[in-house]
Symmetry: C2
Subunit: 496 residues, 2 copies
């Protein structure tokens, strides 16, 4: 393709003239018409994006472009962006060889395309600094804003813009996510969807040559459906602007960040993955914390923190945890984990201990904290009454408790009680009305599919029906609570 | 019951005279005849132990004892240990109120019972120092060795001695376990059984007033079916003797220890759970490490480490990890976790990189280490060939790799390949013949029951059929490998 004429690139359509300086990303997440450049009969070509929007039921126009074809599998193919019949384009998805991308970007400028997603890879991450410079130059020449290169692009559950090539997700959500890895981005979407938690905006941002993490942060900050923001960062780009955007955003919404490239080898691998510099991890994490971020160290923490905040954004009033379990060993275990994360496990008030002693015998039980309800804890009626009393204790800011739905069938039979899981849900519904966060651990003690299914059904109800964050690995729960307490303090200082 | 006469307690049967100074625990794990003292119609009385041995199919004699009954649900009840028809007893299980336990112990001495399990609680852990002293005195008066009080007792898969009241486990195993929490002990048994890993000897040891962790360690050290020893400790008892026994044992077999009571609150909770002093955690863990122990910080680590060593006790030759994945993000992630645990991720030799480049195109792939096979990694033929080449690399001591069985059906359809999981198993079988440990992560990206089932089936095959430790949470894998490398160094120093 010929480079765009200077005259053309210097006079973009009026409405886009100042776009480089703004971050109005609305049209990126809610595009009206999409062009896909680089489609062929090869299923891994751009045609997969055309299909992705058929799968998601995207209601706008999708315009596949390739001068070599007139149609592919019954879909009309347009010869060029400028061709007759191609309307104004909000988003162009580019899937052509790296060397051809700059020319396509110039075509986008000419056409006045608002956003281009560059799916193509082969720039800095492949050591091709020459192509990298050429692409930067092309982007700078006109109004089209660019996401990528080397990224999957954008997903929005509501607008149905989509980069998932296999399946569709139906759940609306309140999480917006930016990730520098397509695989990790898809993994988070799938993981959360599988437990009934939808996501709202999702970006697989790749090398972030133009539209930056800061741009996305600022957009999500003001976007009304986003309640929780999650970032997976490999490289840091313009650190100063990013930290400024982070500070603006954490004043309004929680931001969970998993920063990878933590080690020498990880940083090198990150560079060959998304082409950027990882920076010193310790310095970065310290800066992120100072700007109000909640730090996740790995995928599993990011997933668990995101799921917890998606269902309940309430911050604990303080760091005093009430632990409610059945069993001495698990009480010792959770107390250790909680204390190791600088949270308190205060003794309950004498009044609370007295109230518990009124209906629970002092046989293999303990009412100080951790509270061990012994065998009585397996009876929903006792459990519910105790849970509410402990949640009401003035020494307690947040409750951490354990249920084991995989054992419910056995308890139902041996205690002749029906629907134990229902009764436990009811107990939690009543306790949560006290107004303090309650966190749940399902304490898996079997990987058998039938036991997993019982946990799975109970987990979905806890998350969806009553907004009880359910994290089975206590170190994750304690780490999140520790950070939420700090985040609350941060907000009080920042906003005073 | 009247206290035993001094004459009687001073002349125990000859064969038991020196038992207090020995630790021949064989009859504890392989008892011929068992008495259960404190049985009634109440299902939580000692009768549950009688039933437990019916469930497990214990082939020896079980003699329920209570002077108030002549039979319970068709089972003959004996009036006393000394009654006619009660033979020599290897193990008496005591489930009577705490205040009556010392007298029963004296009866055991009189009868020459080899071992007594005291299930009853209500001693130091309940603040009853008086009863605690009285029981210690009674134990000292005669030959019967005591496990507990406040413990469930002993399980052996082979002899069918059993403390599980609900179900039976059929799998033979090579793990022997001592735990100071019945709940935690049962949880580990169930967790491992559910993934096809049996346990050999299991002890829920309670307060450990007489038979100690050191006694169990020394017995397991010499016991031929035990290949891996796992301990859950709350209090430390006779620290000097324990550390000596630990050192003797780790020279022969790996010992995994989870020490709880790590925090102030945890230590207090431990004291009201099993009645002992937890000691300073930092000092203890340091001492345990110096004596060759592998440290787990929580239940999940203990479970994952135990499962890994049960299927493969080979120690890596060094700390150089080869990482084999499909996807740039997961490569960065695993490299970070591995490096953060002081393991190396060395660049593969040029020869290895060349061999990989001969059949895998350099498109979104990387052959340095972490090795990202890109889309080619999903094809078992490519994966298997690459895995073997990387395992053979002289720079690699241990391989860490990822498979995603939950995605296999989709790949089978889209790539028109049958039985991808079988082909992956075959690939691992071939690579493992190189002679280096291979660790697997199944990289869960969905909690849906149908996806869990696919992972579950694959996991069991990896563990059981080919001995590939399968840990999905990479920080656990890295932590275990880090400690196995140190354990190997420790052995080289100790045994030189």
């Amino acid at each position: 393709m010929a480079p765009a004429s200077p005259a053309k690139t210097q006079t973009p359509p009026e409405r886009h003239r100042n776009l480089k300086n703004r971050a109005d990303l609305h049209a990126l997440f809610y595009p009206k018409n999409i062009a896909v450049i680089g489609v062929s009969h090869n299923p891994v070509s751009g045609i997969k994006y055309v299909k992705a929007h058929e799968i998601s039921g995207f209601p706008g126009g999708v315009y596949p472009i390739n001068p070599k074809y007139r149609e592919i599998d019954g879909r009309k193919i347009y010869p060029a962006l400028e061709a007759e019949g191609v309307p104004d384009i909000d988003m162009a998805i580019i899937a052509v060889p790296a060397a051809n991308v700059p020319a396509v970007i110039r075509d986008c400028h000419k056409k006045g395309v608002k956003f281009a997603i560059i799916f193509s890879s082969g720039f800095a991450e492949s050591g091709r600094e020459d192509l990298d410079r050429e692409l930067r130059q092309a982007i700078a020449e006109g109004p089209t804003r660019v996401v990528g290169p080397n990224g999957l692009g954008v997903y929005n559950q509501e607008s149905r813009v989509n980069f998932l090539f296999k399946r569709k997700f139906e759940l609306p959500g309140n999480i917006s996510f930016i990730g520098q890895s397509g695989g990790t981005t898809a993994r988070l979407l799938m993981s959360l969807d599988s437990i009934g938690i939808g996501m709202h905006n999702v970006v697989s941002a790749g090398n972030m040559m133009d539209v930056s993490m800061a741009d996305f942060l600022r957009y999500f900050k003001d976007e009304s459906k986003t309640k929780v923001i999650v970032l997976y960062m490999e490289c840091v780009g313009n650190g100063r602007d990013f930290l400024a955007a982070l500070r603006e955003t954490t004043r309004v919404k929680p931001v969970i960040i998993w920063k990878s490239g933590q080690s020498d080898v990880g940083a090198t691998a990150a560079r060959s993955h998304t082409g950027g510099l990882a920076g010193s991890y310790q310095i970065w994490v310290s800066a992120l914390r100072q700007h109000g971020a909640i730090i996740a160290d790995n995928f599993e923490e990011m997933r668990d923190f995101a799921a917890a905040l998606a269902v309940n954004q309430a911050l604990p009033r303080g760091n005093r945890v009430g632990i409610v379990v059945s069993g001495g060993g698990v009480g010792v275990e959770i107390a250790d984990v909680v204390r190791n994360h600088t949270l308190d496990v205060p003794e309950l008030t004498p009044e609370t201990q007295q109230k518990l002693a009124e209906f629970i015998p002092n046989i293999n039980t303990s009412f100080r904290n951790p509270v061990d309800l012994g065998e009585y804890g397996y009876v929903p009626h006792y459990y519910g009454r105790a849970l509410k009393i402990i949640t009401e204790d003035p020494n307690v800011d947040v409750v951490l408790t354990v249920r084991e739905p995989e054992r419910s069938p056995w308890f139902e039979e041996s205690m002749n009680i029906k629907n134990i899981d229902n009764l436990n849900i009811l107990a939690l519904q009543i306790a949560i009305k006290v107004g303090k966060p309650i966190y749940m651990n399902l304490s898996p003690n079997s990987d058998l599919p039938e036991h997993h299914s019982l946990r799975y059904a109970f987990r979905k109800r806890l998350l969806q029906e009553i907004g009880v964050p359910t994290i089975d690995y206590t170190p994750h729960t304690a780490k999140l609570l520790q950070q939420l307490v700090k985040y609350k303090k941060y907000l009080l200082q920042e906003l005073q």
